[in-house]
């Protein structure tokens, strides 16, 4: 099933021609209308007419989250505020947030991307979609909401939280689709089981995942809990919101809406562009955005891209699930470590739903990592020796994944913080700034 078959299955040659046209128009508009781009490109001595091929995009400087922040709030808008119909912003954990502005046409483009995604997940107008993503300034809620309107399904805009009520509504309204972050989804499933409701019997057809990093094992856990497929949704407020990439039924990577976003993979250290199937940092460019065209945005998300045609028939490139962040990465003793590696290590020793926290300290001149792991039935035995062995096994498993020896501390269940949005897995107490 396709939402926009012509575009989604377009031969790559035609698609690239379309991308080039849109890229040229975007760069010209940005250069003409937004002082930021005008200054940056002039400084770099690169001009709109230098973009003759798609590859020429590499001549353009990158834009980072800091650049976007410095233009707070409306510095990167290409249109007058009278044409902006909606404003969102990304969570500002440090400094000012990043603001995103949308014209009518942008909202429609955004809905188009999520409509394609929901269709990939097998949802259509007869479905009822319960959206547990937060509404508000965060784009997660509205992106799905608009896409849902486009495909004609009924949306339940319930937002995050009130887990027992979520379950009650699912049952009473007969929701057939769910949108949640993996950790919140598992939480919902567990609460349902506690209350004697098997989530498998709720009649859910498809689940859309978003907003946080997860592993294949977590997907399996969610699929088992709810008895249906779970699909990855990727997006970010800076570029528009969710819908940049969504998984199809093949579940072999997320199709990037390539007529709307131009993807590149770079080496985060040297900033050189890498080829297909090579892991690196994802860089994205808006090809179809009036309000606030963003060109060569460094997402800091680590992934790789394949351009091979998918078994579903779509020709659009596929990115693999995000395996880490080039900035959330912890560098310890010169080694890069990602929370996902710790998670994988814990799953390997039989901790089915690991809850953990990574704490990095520098007591003297050397970095130390402590991984706090909540003990669970899977890894609890009635013997001190056995428990020491569990600790040791976790330590070894982490060392195998990361190459670093860490201190493992087992803590009591539910003593580590729970998150209903993006999970915070790392506490860096080194004061490196």
């Amino acid at each position: 099933m396709f939402w926009n078959e012509e575009i989604e299955t377009m031969p790559r040659e035609d698609l690239e021609e379309l991308q080039l046209k849109k890229l040229q128009a975007t760069v010209k508009r940005a250069f003409d209308k937004i002082p930021y781009y005008n200054n940056r490109y002039t400084e770099a001595e690169v001009f709109p007419e230098d973009i003759e091929t798609l590859k020429d995009i590499e001549k353009l400087p990158f834009i980072t989250k800091d650049d976007l922040r410095q233009s707070y709030p409306f510095g990167l808008f290409a249109v007058d505020i009278s044409e902006i119909k909606e404003l969102h912003s990304s969570s500002g954990t440090t400094g000012k947030p990043v603001v995103s502005g949308y014209t009518d046409k942008d909202l429609d483009t955004w809905a188009e991307t999520t409509a394609r995604g929901l269709t990939m997940m097998g949802l259509g107008e007869e479905d009822i979609l319960q959206n547990t993503h937060g509404y508000g300034m965060f784009t997660g809620g509205f992106g799905v909401h608009y896409g849902c309107h486009k495909i004609g399904a009924a949306i339940i805009p319930i937002s995050t939280g009130q887990t027992r009520r979520q379950i009650e509504i699912m049952e009473d309204f007969g929701a057939t689709g769910l949108i949640f972050t993996p950790s919140y989804g598992i939480h919902i499933g567990e609460v349902a089981l506690e209350d004697g409701i098997d989530p498998k019997n709720l009649g859910i057809k498809a689940i859309g995942f978003g907003a946080e990093m997860w592993t294949e094992e977590i997907r399996q856990r969610v699929e088992e809990l709810f008895g249906c497929k779970a699909f990855n949704i990727y997006g970010l407020t800076e570029l528009m919101g969710p819908g940049v990439g969504v998984e199809c039924e093949a579940q072999e990577g997320l199709h990037i809406a390539e007529d709307i976003y131009y993807p590149e993979i770079i080496d985060p250290n040297t900033c050189t562009t890498l080829g297909a199937d090579t892991p690196g940092e994802l860089v994205l460019t808006n090809l179809e955005r009036e309000g606030m065209p963003v060109i060569r945005f460094r997402t800091k998300d680590l992934t790789k891209i394949t351009y091979e045609k998918c078994s579903c028939g779509r020709t659009h490139a596929r990115m693999s699930r995000i395996t880490g962040r080039s900035d959330d990465m912890i560098k310890v003793k010169g080694v890069a470590i990602f929370p996902s590696q710790i998670e994988k290590a814990l799953l390997k020793v039989g901790d089915v739903e690991p809850h953990y926290l990574i704490i990095v300290t520098r007591p003297g001149t050397l970095d130390e990592i402590e991984v706090k792991v909540e003990a669970s039935q899977d890894i609890f035995f009635d013997g001190v020796k056995e428990m020491m062995a569990v600790q040791e096994k976790i330590g070894k498993s982490i060392e195998n994944e990361t190459g670093i020896r860490v201190k493992v501390t087992l803590v009591e269940p539910k003593t580590l913080p729970r998150f209903e949005g993006k999970a915070k897995r790392v506490i860096d107490e080194r004061n490196l700034h």
Binding site: A375, S376, Q377, F380, F381, D382, G383, V384, M387, M388, T409, L410, V411, E412, P413, K414, T415
Partner: protein
């Protein structure tokens, strides 16, 4: 015959022992015997209570990590040498004892020794052969 013991995982920090005991007392579960095995970082609290199932439920409702483990209790003379005679039997039969603890009660001059081994059946057989009295579980729960 086997006694259901509650094993509770605890982090070793001040006050970590009092919370589970409070939870049990609130649930009207009485403690017959207890022992704590710990390292500098964590501990395992082992309890014999009058109602293990209710105890487990109450603790789990309060987010404790609990397992029910089977142990046995034997009667021993609360006099010097009472323990060694039992340990001798265990040693002669080459049974690996994981841990033991004891408690006394009203029955004069007698103490109850609680034992745990991986091979619990073998331990029971060996003790029975030497006519050592194995205490019925109900007897311990209802002391």
């Amino acid at each position: 015959m086997k006694i259901k013991q509650l094993s509770i995982f605890l982090q070793n920090r001040m006050g970590s022992l009092s919370k589970p005991l409070e939870v049990l007392s609130e649930a009207d579960v009485n403690i017959r015997a207890m022992c704590m095995a710990d390292t500098s970082e964590f501990g395992i609290l082992r309890l014999v209570v009058d109602n293990p199932e209710r105890g487990k439920e109450a603790l789990e409702e309060n987010s404790f990590l609990v397992k029910i483990t089977e142990i046995i209790g034997v009667e021993m003379n609360d006099t010097p040498g009472g323990l060694t005679s039992i340990l001798k039997v265990i040693k002669e039969n080459e049974i690996d004892l994981e841990y033991l603890y004891a408690f006394t009660h009203e029955k004069e001059g007698k103490a109850i020794l609680l034992l745990h081994a991986d091979k619990l059946e073998e331990l029971i057989d060996a003790l029975k052969e030497k006519d050592i009295v194995i205490v019925q579980a109900d007897e311990v729960y209802n002391l």
